[in-house]
Symmetry: C2
Subunit: 188 residues, 2 copies
């Protein structure tokens, strides 16, 4: 059996867990409920949030749309966006659509978060580590949307280790982004 | 910062990763595509599958329905099932519905897997570690559904560690169950 050592991601794991705890505390303080849509993180972001006891009070769940078809079928992303080589599934447009559609399909959610990215192996040239994130806050008549491109640091390793590491790093960066946006919005 | 040591779940993590690899190999061999619906594992099952390079060829994604409302809104689980104290969200009926509905909403999927369970803390009396799993195989005119109740072993620890451990153990058991059911179905 090939074993995957966790020593290499121990620090990232602990930091991501800490971010998840802070996010749930912020959601609790502000009486909010989060919904997520994940592509590249593949459920790992949801797994950190749901590893905190009581998370279901403030976390509706995550739509892990790992294929283009799932993005279209579950969240109504237009095929023309996904098929456009200048846009593709890893883009700010698709990430924003995922967040808005997840929010629209989850009436009890007060904010949505979405993430897409290239975590390798076999990422397009110069695209490895590029991650798009969107946070959308529900408002009375419209939504307030914040989209950013992040760069996840990468390093040479074996391909299996690299993907596991990259998913953990992308999840940590995504959680940090989300936590900062909630903090900023509710700063006194 | 509270840190979460991964040493305690190192072995479970490696085993779950191994199961995920075997499942993707089986799906590839049989040209199948899987969709998941997760409650108690909270995206962790999807994260293991998506940590394998190339997973998107055979894994559509996961609907992480972490609240009762998400189970109803995303996958049409009837409120009367969730609200019935003799059934509740952690039941074979709800797990089977989640799997069938996930399959129905994902045209390219050839099988669906769903999992619900009590992983604590604060599980109902005598319910800690009880997990319900369903695998549904799409057939020409009907679906072939297999549902089982699993018992995830638990041990005393601090409440945070226990939940992280329990989610990893539940994910490992769920992946083993899924792998066995695919192997049995396609055994020569």
């Amino acid at each position: 059996m090939q074993t995957i050592s966790h020593a290499a991601i121990e620090k990232t794991y602990a930091q991501a867990y800490h971010e998840a705890r802070m996010i749930l505390a912020l959601l609790s303080q502000n009486n909010m409920c989060l919904v997520a849509a994940e592509s590249c993180t593949g459920g790992l972001l949801a797994s950190f949030l749901t590893s905190i006891p009581g998370a279901s009070q403030h976390f509706c769940g995550s739509l892990v749309v790992y294929r283009d078809d799932s993005k279209s079928q579950w969240l109504g992303v237009e095929k023309k966006l996904l098929d456009d080589p200048m846009i593709t599934s890893v883009s700010s447009q698709v990430t924003e659509t995922l967040a808005l559609e997840a929010l629209g399909r989850t009436p009890e959610a007060s904010l949505a978060f979405a993430v897409t990215g290239h975590l390798g192996p076999n990422a397009p040239a110069n695209q490895l580590g590029i991650v798009h994130t969107t946070v959308v806050f529900k408002q009375s008549n419209e939504c307030d949307s914040l989209t950013e491109q992040l760069l996840v640091p990468c390093e040479p390793s074996n391909p299996f280790q690299t993907r596991v590491m990259m998913q953990h790093r992308a999840t940590l960066h995504a959680l940090e982004f989300l936590r900062q946006k909630i903090e900023t919005r509710f700063a006194v």
